[in-house]
Symmetry: C2
Subunit: 209 residues, 2 copies
């Protein structure tokens, strides 16, 4: 009888202690976020906090840049009236007017450099041939960070479509030499589309084309 | 005495069952990977498996592209002799010759399109103005996926530096109309540099430049 009660206590204790062992909740892995990111073009209209926007911008600024120039500049619009005024025209304006914020990813197209092999020479302003690649990497990081934060976002075209970027640059006071690469509305998703499967092994050439 | 033995069994059982309740290991979150990614230029020389390379290429092909054109093409070189032959010249060739693989991220610079508003018209080949942005987003995804997989990688410049891309395109048989955007050596890291802190609030303009 005492052996049975000992056994019951043992099993009960195991069961109870087992119940306390909750599985830990993991945040989505980087690969999950990369594979599940998709363009969101409908938002609830709710605002996105400055803290969340700064998480996205930090992610953007963590991208690699040629010669560590960090050519990116960001204009972030959160004011609803201003979003409607600057981005609210055109057939697909709903993705802007329902967003909580719009991030304009810009690039400084020149950089300061010394002539090669002349460390004592003064720096001069030269074209940065790689600004659009660096800023594209930053934009992708912003989209991924938005996904990781449970926000939605979509990359909409800027450079080199002059007809798109000229009015935005004018409205936001973006100076000469700084070019809007892309315009990213960010918000609380009001849709849940399935990510496209774009895996095509035929786009890979092993060892030689 | 029996109460004591019961108590001992109870405590022992709790301790033993507690030991089984290991904290679950979470993979690094997307934000952790974005913020900890850094350029790796020294590798052990060990190979990288085709399976791992395909994880990276899947991540690359998950990037967004303008009009869903998916202009990316990848040439992946894993043969050590070929890596040395194609990428082994120049002052910083060690990052290629110690790598397990080299991924050349290329872009198709044209696309097939119908004239706007003419769904029955035949498709014609037109320039794709956004190929280098799409391929840059793919390259960033590849770098992040490499970090997530415990591999190292670095974005090295291709387009628009003609002197860099012409010999690579020739050696790999990359056809006209396809341009190497960047060249990414991938391998097992032989260094562990601290990621740069590139957060600069002065690069953000709120509401207006």
């Amino acid at each position: 009888m005492k052996q049975i009660s000992l056994f019951v206590v043992l099993v009960a204790t195991l069961l109870i202690s087992g119940c306390n062992c909750k599985p830990q909740e993991c945040p989505a892995s980087a690969l999950d976020v990369i594979m599940s990111r998709t363009s969101i073009r409908n938002f609830t209209g709710d605002p996105v906090s400055k803290e969340q926007l700064e998480v996205l911008l930090k992610a953007g600024m963590a991208a690699p840049t040629a010669m560590n120039v960090q050519p990116w500049r960001f204009v972030v619009v959160t004011d609803k009236d201003k979003i409607a005024e600057v981005f609210g025209a055109g057939p697909r304006s709903g993705m802007f007017t329902t967003a909580g914020a719009v991030i304009v990813v810009c690039g400084q197209t020149t950089m300061m450099m010394r002539p090669f092999g002349q460390p004592d020479a003064p720096e001069t302003e030269v074209p940065n041939k790689f600004w659009f690649e660096d800023c594209s990497a930053a934009a992708e990081n912003i989209l991924l960070a938005a996904t990781a934060e449970g926000l939605g976002a979509v990359w909409t075209a800027g450079y080199p479509a002059e007809e798109r970027i000229a009015p935005i640059a004018a409205a936001l006071g973006i100076p000469a030499g700084v070019v809007p690469l892309c315009i990213i509305p960010v918000g609380i998703p009001a849709e849940n589309p399935t990510p496209k499967d774009k895996w095509k092994p035929e786009n890979i050439h092993w060892e030689q084309w």
